[in-house]
Structure formats: C-alpha cells, structure tokens
Symmetry: C2
Subunit: 124 residues, 2 copies
C-alpha cells in the first residue's frame, strides 16, 4: 500500500465504494487485473492484449497496482530480462468485482461481436 497515493477518501470515512474504485480506475488497471486472473503474465504479454497502451503507461499502471498490493512483480536475474506479473491474494479477491464488470459489459455493451476472445479462465 506504500504511501497514500489515494487522497480520494473524501466522500466520507465509510465510503468503501470510493476506496475500491480508486484502486482500479486508470485507463488500464482493470484490464490488467482481468487478464491476470488467467494466470501469470510477462510484460510484453500483457502489452499485446492492449496494443494502444504504451510501455510507459503500462509500467505506471503496473507499478501502482503493485504499490496497492494487488499484483506481484517477480524479476528473474537473467539476460534477456524476464519479469512476471501475477495477482496477489488481495488482487485475486477482486475477482467478484472484475467478474461483475465483465458480465455487465457483456450484457450491456457487448455489441462488438462475441464478448470474449480471451476469457482468462481459459487462458494458460
């Protein structure tokens, strides 16, 4: 959780909705988490799932997710570099939220052809 990057608890102390949403806002966070539900992934592997995300942005989002304790970053000391990202326990506990988002999206905006193409549960 590091230092409080989120000064967004100004709704009121009990507003946990705000707290929760604060961790998965940002343009790509929820997507990353969703993909990681399917298992460990490497940097470029994640990138390939969202080609419009620049490495700069991806790095930043990953770092924040890591700070918030939602994902785990594992670096292999080798050349070429290898870094793996996976969900922490806390991150995995967001599964209900992510699933709810997915279901809602599929039901209400899934107008773009078949909803999936990459259901994490059927990924490696």
């Amino acid at each position: 959780m590091a230092k409080a990057r989120h000064s967004r608890f100004d709704c009121n102390p009990g507003c946990s909705v705000e707290a929760a949403i604060g961790l998965i806002d940002g343009k790509w966070k929820s997507i990353v988490l969703w993909h990681l539900l399917g298992g460990t992934m490497r940097f470029n592997e994640i990138r390939r799932t969202m080609l419009n995300c620049t490495p700069r942005m991806l790095t930043k989002q990953l770092r924040e997710l890591e700070e918030d304790g939602l994902i785990v970053r594992k670096v292999y000391a080798q050349v070429p570099p290898k870094v793996e990202y996976s969900l922490s326990e806390l991150g995995r506990s967001m599964e209900p939220i992510l699933s709810a988002l997915k279901r809602w999206g599929d039901a209400n905006i899934g107008l773009y052809g078949k909803p999936q193409g990459h259901d994490p549960r059927e990924a490696t």
Copy 2:
C-alpha cells in the same frame, strides 16, 4: 448513450471490462450511483453526501451519467427549482458491480470505523 464520449474501447472489441469501468470511473460517479441505489435524490442532497465535490464537478458527473443512460434527470418547472435524479433501469443493473465494490472496500479498506452511515438500502 449520446455520442461516443468513450473512446476507450481500445483494448479489443470484446473487452467489456473496459467498457464497463469506463462508465463509472471519474472521481464521483460510482459514489453517486451507489447513493442513488437508495432512491431518488435531489442535487444538493447528493452534494451533501460528498462535501468535497464542487457543484461544477457534480453537475458534470451527473450529466455524463445521464448521457450514458445510467441515471434519469427530472426537472420540476417551479420556483425554486427542483431537480431529481434517479437510476434508470440500466443504472440499476449495475447494482452487482456497486455491491461488489462496496463489499470489497468494506472487507479490505474498511479501516475507518463502521463501514456505513449511509447504506442506501436503508435510506428513504
């Protein structure tokens, strides 16, 4: 739904997670929706639940939610003005998401004393 304010479907066509999250990001949207789960509310009534939200911001968020078809804005032609906001069917369908957020927040960040103080379900 108006014109596509959300050009955030760049993950991939099936990425409904992104689509869904795109509708409730912003600093206050999820909070507003959460509160409206408890029933119709007026402008300042909503404001009082998040004192750090300026009228400008609240207006903007409400307009966007309206554009996206999540809430309904009802204006009474009278003086002083009276405007009521309530969830649309679509907005109400987000209840699972909002509940998931709330539950997660309560479980993982509810370190600020008793979680509620305003459970919409027990509001008027």
